[in-house]
């Protein structure tokens, strides 16, 4: 019998140094999350497991060789950022990014070996903005897409849902899936006219064989809990009942919180509990309770820990 929830994380994630002080994607993010989980009433239900370093073979299923070399060379050369000052790096960043991308792989192995069913990877750097050949918005490797490819190629999954509730659109996930039928990317995010990264319009549904496998649900600035709950119940669930995913990956970002200045959305901490409950419900309906969540954004340190704890309580059905 596996633990109700398994968290995959590692102290080495703190070693991805984004230059200190004012950079929002700081190591402290994971520390406040750990503290909130340790203080949580559900801490006893959580098991912990280690990630592994994502092998180049799996990174290369998502990213170009050119980008892998460019990233590795940049850190070895001692550069402090790559392509854009948002994307701060240190000497260890390439290795830590490989470890971040590998958390999903370790989680999938645990699920497929029957050792766990409900996994949450608490990792950094995040991934959903990373494109196949370029970093964006603090993201270097697209952790969710690397995990999806691993699940497809190693375990034969044919209908992978990636659901993204980060306040920002996961442009890198959409790019990876928009022309194929085997993945379904659904994202609720702040409207791209007002929000980074300026992508994720509602009229983008996928192309060619992937037509109909992208569902962007942008919200206007100021939107909050009621709009999200309505989308989950009235729009997304019927789509999933029709599509019947055989694996679920959640890009779990917490920067749409009302206190987080990274978006104009006004989610409450309690909404993340609701989202956790809904994810649990989807897993029970479609994938025999099996679900893999991967941390994306969430930058307001005063609420990030509680938001993640609320999501975890929801995932546990508590």
């Amino acid at each position: 019998m596996s633990a109700p929830l398994t968290i995959i994380t590692d102290q080495r994630y703190l070693e991805h140094d984004t230059g200190g002080g004012e950079h929002p994607e700081s190591p402290v993010r994971l520390q406040v999350i750990s503290q909130a989980l340790e203080a949580s009433s559900c801490f006893a239900d959580i098991a912990f497991a280690a990630p592994r370093v994502a092998e180049r073979e799996w990174l290369a299923k998502v990213h170009t060789e050119d980008w892998l070399f460019r990233f590795e060379e940049a850190v070895l050369a001692g550069r402090t950022y790559i392509d854009h000052t948002d994307n701060q790096i240190c000497y260890d960043s390439y290795d830590i990014a490989c470890l971040s991308a590998g958390a999903g792989l370790a989680g999938i192995d645990l699920i497929e070996e029957g050792k766990a069913h409900n996994i949450f990877c608490l990792v950094r750097p995040p991934g959903h903005h990373a494109e196949h050949n370029i970093p964006f918005g603090f993201c270097f490797f697209n952790n969710c897409v690397v995990a999806a490819r691993y699940w497809q190629y190693c375990y034969g999954k044919k209908r992978i849902l990636v659901f993204d509730f980060d306040g920002h659109h996961g442009n890198g996930i959409q790019s990876a899936f928009e022309d194929e039928a085997a993945g379904y990317y659904i994202s609720i995010h702040e409207h791209p006219s007002f929000s980074y990264p300026g992508t994720g319009y509602a009229d983008e549904h996928g192309m060619g064989e992937g037509k109909g496998t992208i569902l962007n649900l942008p919200l206007s600035p100021g939107a909050g809990d009621s709009q999200v709950v309505k989308l989950l119940q009235d729009v997304i669930l019927p789509k999933l009942e029709e599509w019947q995913p055989d694996a679920i990956i959640v890009a779990a970002g917490f920067d749409a919180h009302r206190e987080d200045e990274m978006t104009g959305l006004l989610y409450s901490t309690e909404l993340y509990h609701t989202i956790g409950l809904v994810m649990r419900d989807w897993a029970e309906r479609f994938t025999e309770g099996r679900i893999l969540s991967i941390l994306e954004g969430g930058y307001e340190l005063s609420v990030l820990g509680d938001s993640v704890e609320a999501y975890v309580r929801g995932l546990l059905g508590r």
């Binding site: 929002p24 791209p192 929000s195 980074y196 990264p197 300026g198 992508t199």
Partner: protein, 212 residues
């Protein structure tokens, strides 16, 4: 801003003697909606649209015998008989704005682009939206738009630019939009994820960012 950079160059054209079934097959094969009709020197004679063709073909409410009669007539009809000859055109040195005004005035779907008399391109309303999308950075990955109240104070644009450049915050567009009823706004397209930092920078300098 010139049409020549955004048009479809060397477009497929047809002769005025072509039959309607041939022209229809061409439109269907290439998924076009507009075909310039030209003479042997490539000079514009008219435009043929999918709407012109639909009007020429029999209506679905006709009986079979009526439809057959119309089909027989259509097969003998040439492009010259149904094309529009009163064409609005663009030139190679026309601008996107010229095209916008023409589309807005005439509700056309596409316009031929001429070099002298010769057709050298077609510029569609889709080309126009693509060009303006690029011009304004809509959908540009890694960017977002911020609105700032324009209080009309002297040097406000310079202040904004200086603040951003001093802090090495990349931006690609700065637009001032006048609106007598709702107030003037300065729009700024920034290319960074560090949004909170930009908000603080602008607000600490006394600028009013339009937030949710």
């Amino acid at each position: 801003m010139y049409i020549s950079r955004h048009m479809t160059a060397d477009p497929v054209t047809v002769s005025s003697a072509m039959s309607l079934p041939e022209a229809r097959a061409l439109l269907n094969d290439f998924r076009f909606r507009h075909l310039p009709v030209v003479d042997e020197n490539g000079a514009l004679l008219g435009m043929l649209t999918d709407r012109d063709l639909r009007s020429a073909y029999p209506s679905s409410v006709l009986t079979d015998s009526e439809r057959r009669l119309v089909y027989e007539k259509v097969e003998k009809t040439t492009v010259a008989e149904i094309m529009s000859t009163d064409c609005v055109t663009l030139r190679l040195d026309s601008t996107l704005d010229d095209a916008l005004f023409l589309f807005d005035r005439d509700q056309m779907g596409a316009l031929p682009v001429l070099d002298g008399e010769r057709v050298v391109g077609v510029f569609s309303i889709r080309d126009l939206t693509t060009a303006y999308k690029k011009l304004f950075g809509v959908g540009e990955k890694g960017s977002m738009l911020i609105g700032i109240d324009d209080d009309g104070s002297h040097g406000i644009m310079t202040r904004i630019v200086n603040l951003l450049e001093e802090q090495n915050i990349p931006f690609t567009r700065l637009m001032r939009v006048y609106d007598e009823r709702k107030g003037n706004t300065i729009y700024l397209r920034i290319n960074t994820f560090k949004i909170a930092k930009v908000y603080s920078l602008l607000e600490d300098a006394g600028l009013a960012v339009k937030r949710a």
